[in-house]
Amino acid sequence: MNISVENLNKSYENEEIFKDFNMEFYDDKINCIIGKSGCGKSTLLNIIAGLTEIQSGEVSGVSLSDISYVFQEDRLIEWLTVKENLEITLKKYFDQSVMDDKIDGILNLVGIYDIKNKYPNALSGGMRQRVNIARAFGKPSKVILMDEPFKSLDYKLKYTIIDEFKNLLNKEKRMVILVTHDLDEAIYFRGNIIVFNNKPVKIAGIFNEDLENCKENILRII
């Protein structure tokens, strides 16, 4: 599966974010989009997800049912337990008779089975983000969009969760489009690194090999 963004035009008030922007994402890859804060990275994700309207252009190769989204904030419903939070988002894709097993399975995968009957309020930031990831993997999607999901986590926890995420991805192959402003995080994923700069957005470079040695280069063009 490929996702194509063609002739995209998007502006907020008088500021042009995308002007005749074209881009392609390829199957089973982790695509890390990196760029300065506010350069339009999250906007692109929201456009692909259909959450942001565009002036003109087209996103093809993907529909809403193909997409999962790991948001920057976990977006859990506070008055529902972890199990209920997952249940409401997976209801469309699984029969009620298999729902419990499905939820137990995902929670086991991300190592948080024990907290399934807890309310989000009782969970740490890391736990909440794991539920956010579990929700994305629970949906039988082809693409996972991730908008700086590790931003609020401390250094150690961040890399623990990234490792867990990569393990999950090895078990269940999906295309990932990740937005981040942290180059080390992008390198750690060992996928494609797509560098955005300027406004309207331009692709300043795509890196996929020998990432450690490209670091200087990437920093120069961001």
Binding site: A49, G50, L51, L64, S65, I67, S68, Y69, F71, E73, R75, I77, E78, W79, L80, T81, E84, I88, T89, L90, K91, K92, Y119, N121, R135, K139
Partner: protein, 251 residues
């Protein structure tokens, strides 16, 4: 926290004792129960009210009218609140009715209700008309303030409208309702009683108060005030218990 809570309760109690004492002092100084009755006269009047079958019927009738008006206003507010959020047409449709309902004086409503309906229906109509705009606007605004990010999340995971209403909109309304229940129910109760004072249905606290007024029975009027305050206190306790149950996720 516990210590602070007890301390504040003791201070509130002391404040109540102070004002009751002040009341008794003024009553003794004035020495005319038509203006201000003494505490013992009010207790005696409460005793009489409790012994009288008609008084009990009055309390129950007023309570029934309040519950009915409030319940109806709540159902309408919830349905129209959800419709206003889901379909903006309803929001604009309700705008003038809501503005009118909020600004019209209670007395004008009472008089109009007496002209248009019979005296038994007036308290219902007035209770409903006063509380509906407040509940509707509150519920609608509360629903509109639901985090857009949560709504976006439900779009991505294709949550059905039925589940959105059941798991997001209804709980949001429930939390809002719990925060305003005592104040709005008390307001309806007071409005229904005002409607009864003017409409004079056969049974009702308002009808009894009007009767006491005609007979210059000020201790009787004070007794009704005490009964109304007690009913409000009971409501507040029920509300607190319900809140504890409903907000268990926030502990």
């Amino acid at each position: 926290m516990m210590r602070y809570s007890w301390k504040s309760k003791i201070y509130t109690l002391l404040s109540c004792v102070f004002f009751i004492g002040l009341w008794q002092l003024i009553a003794i100084i004035i020495n005319n129960d038509i203006y201000i009755p003494r505490i013992q006269q009010v207790i005696e009047a409460i005793n009489i009210i409790f012994k009288d079958q008609n008084s009990l019927k009055g309390v129950l009738s007023s309570f029934y009218r309040t519950m009915f008006s409030y319940g109806l206003a709540l159902i309408f507010s919830m349905v129209l609140g959800v419709l206003a959020v889901v379909c903006p047409f309803f929001k604009y449709l309700m705008e003038p009715i809501n503005s009118f309902g909020k600004t019209i004086p209670t007395m004008v409503l009472v008089v109009l209700s007496l002209v248009w309906f019979d005296k038994d229906k007036t308290p219902f109509v007035v209770g409903f008309a006063i509380i509906f705009p407040i509940l509707y606007e509150g519920i609608r605004n509360n629903l509109m303030q639901i985090d857009k990010k949560i709504i976006d999340m439900t779009k991505i995971y294709e949550v059905s409208l039925k589940d959105k209403i059941k798991k997001i909109y209804l709980p949001t309304m429930k939390f809002y309702f719990m925060s305003i229940f005592v104040s709005t129910f008390s307001l309806t109760f007071k409005t229904v009683i005002a409607g009864e004072v003017h409409g004079q249905p056969k049974f009702g606290i308002g009808s009894q108060i009007q009767l006491d007024k005609v007979n210059f029975n000020t201790p009787g009027i004070f007794a009704w005030i005490v009964i109304i305050v007690i009913i409000s206190l009971v409501l507040e306790i029920i509300n607190k218990l319900l809140k504890k149950k409903i907000y268990r996720w926030n502990r």
